[in-house]
């Protein structure tokens, strides 16, 4: 019986969305996404209440929101520690290193043939496994988290960037050859721009990886702040609403991070068919 209103809410929200989706304007697109999300939250709240799910198992969205509002200062400190210091620094360093390495590899066919298979191998490695090792090497503070992030984002970006630098077509390269362009000239004026769509593909994938890396690394040792620290401590204290508030922060930060990179991508690779529509 309790399932009936839940199903009713689901169906009516879906119906509303189906109707809205037909207009397909910027506003309705946003609305549809928001209604979808809101529906999930409402259903979640209804299920938790209707079936009396204990909050130490799964707190209701309203409890999570209350905890979020009550703990803004803690959440902010954790955000700075984990996202700004750990994830962002690591991501920037990893990306720069990967780009530089890609250019280096690109110059040397020998390295390309030797390093790329190994890079592909390492890219498939369960990098989280080295988190305890890096914590041992780089200490407890954000530096070790950044190091984990560097290692996690390095290979996906490298592989993408190398593919990108090779993404010019034969005619574009032949043109440069007929003008007798030097290496750096064709790098800057042809390969770099052509590589941008690939590079951004890598940068986008790694935004979420960076967050995950920074948070998970905190499990293997951390100062007494940070999102990973807070999550594990709060689980230990059965303060599940706080855990979910941290997850909320991570989701918001991650979506923003992804969105910003996607926005820059749009600016930089405006010329690419996938951006032109």
């Amino acid at each position: 019986m309790t399932a009936l209103p839940i199903i009713a809410v689901w169906l009516s929200a879906w119906g509303l969305n189906a109707w809205l989706a037909r207009f397909d304007t910027r506003l309705t697109r946003l609305l549809v996404a928001l209604i979808f999300g809101a529906t999930i939250l409402i259903l979640w709240e209804m299920i938790v209440r209707a079936y009396g799910v204990p909050s130490v198992i799964l707190p209701a969205p309203s409890q999570i929101w209350a905890s979020f509002m009550a703990n803004t200062s803690i959440l902010w400190v954790d955000f700075v520690q984990t996202i700004l210091k750990g994830a962002l620094t690591g991501w920037v360093m990893g990306a720069l290193a990967a780009i530089a390495t890609a250019i280096l590899i690109d110059r040397s066919p020998f390295l390309q043939r030797g390093l790329l298979p190994i890079a592909n191998f390492v890219a498939a490695l369960p990098i989280v496994g080295i988190a305890p090792i890096l914590v041992m090497w780089f200490g407890f503070d954000w530096q070790s988290k950044a190091a984990v992030v560097v290692v996690m984002v390095f290979f996906p970006i490298l592989v993408n960037m190398v593919a990108g630098l090779a993404a010019t077509d034969a005619m574009q390269r032949d043109l440069m050859a007929t003008w007798s362009a030097g290496y750096w000239q064709s790098l800057w004026k042809m390969r770099m721009p052509a590589a941008m769509p690939f590079l951004f593909n890598g940068l986008k994938i790694t935004t979420t990886l960076a967050l995950i890396g920074a948070i998970v690394a905190e499990f293997f040792g951390s100062p007494t702040r940070g999102m990973g620290f807070r999550i594990s401590t709060a689980v230990g204290q059965l303060d599940l609403p706080l855990v979910w508030a941290e997850i909320l922060v991570a989701a918001i930060a991650g979506s923003l991070f992804y969105g910003i990179v996607a926005l820059i991508e749009k600016r930089v690779t405006f010329w690419h068919p996938s951006q032109r529509k």
Binding site: G37, A124, G129, I215
Partner: protein
């Protein structure tokens, strides 16, 4: 073109760097120990010590190789000390998670390319879903599953499914949308039905994308399983090996488990690559 020589060269270089790093990183401990014992070490003794410590900060390659050999070949494969046994545990959960995840990704992608509502509502939240630090809440997830009676392999598999569905979703959406306007217009001019266009145009043209994302997804699934095993009270599997190695400071054990995991990942990726080549060849897409 031969890749063997370059790859070997790079591997040799890595091993060299590794040895140097091992000496550097383990030296502090060797010196401290000498100081505690009131002796001094010659450079030769120092180097020898750094390459043979019991709990080195960074084990030397030959120590890892020995650990690997012992774990893989030195035990009965049903023994709990055998890496083969643990790799098998991890592999089975990975495969289950990968199957669930890629199926979910494909189904969602088909829905998204065929329904405007799904496209507009699911995609943004799929991105958001990946920013949830699932790895951080893996233990909780496992407890929640246990509370509804799901235990064993499935909870771990759900975590790896969560990580692996996203690349498949993104790749498949892209793949199902690759047919260019002309190819779609041809179908229209023949008045093909949606399902005819799907089976004969969208699906075949999405194959290269599907395989590319399956490779990413299988690696992600492995990470998911290992993390599911790490803290979540799993008692076997490579994640548990990593954990117990870490717990007892057995760096050699950590590195052996890590390399086994890497080999597993490489093997899975290669397997998919092989299936990809077979499929694409049969489709005439491999040149």
């Amino acid at each position: 073109m031969s890749r063997v020589l370059p790859v070997l060269t790079v591997i040799a270089a890595i091993i060299l760097v590794w040895y140097v790093a091992a000496i550097g990183m383990n030296a502090q401990w060797a010196k401290d120990q000498a100081a505690r014992a009131d002796t001094t070490l010659t450079t030769g003794e120092l180097i020898a010590d750094t390459l043979s410590q019991d709990r080195p900060v960074l084990p030397a390659p030959h120590q890892v190789a020995a650990g690997l050999w012992d774990g893989l070949a030195g035990q009965k494969i049903t023994s709990r000390r055998s890496l083969v046994y643990h790799a098998w545990i991890t592999l089975s959960a990975t495969m289950a998670g990968f199957a669930i995840g890629s199926l979910a990704g494909i189904v969602l992608a088909v829905g998204i390319t065929h329904s405007k509502v799904m496209d507009q509502s699911v995609m943004p939240w799929a991105v958001a879903s990946q920013t949830v630090p699932i790895l951080a809440i893996a233990p909780m997830v496992i407890v929640v599953f246990a509370s509804v009676g799901v235990t064993g392999l499935l909870p771990k598999a759900m975590i790896s499914a969560w990580l692996s569905f996203f690349p498949v979703l993104v790749g498949m959406v892209k793949g199902l949308r690759t047919p260019d306007a002309m190819q779609l217009d041809l179908m229209r001019s023949w008045s093909a039905t949606r399902s005819q266009a799907f089976w004969r145009l969208r699906l075949p043209s999405s194959m290269p994308f599907l395989f590319a994302s399956l490779k990413i997804a299988v690696a992600a699934a492995l990470v998911g399983t290992i993390v599911g095993e790490l803290p979540a009270g799993a008692t076997s599997g490579l994640g548990a090996r990593l954990l117990s190695g870490s717990y007892y400071g057995q760096t050699v054990q950590i590195w052996s488990a890590l390399f086994t995991a890497a080999a597993l990942a490489a093997g899975l990726v290669m397997l998919i690559g092989w299936i990809e080549r077979m499929t694409l060849r049969r489709m005439g897409l491999a040149k």
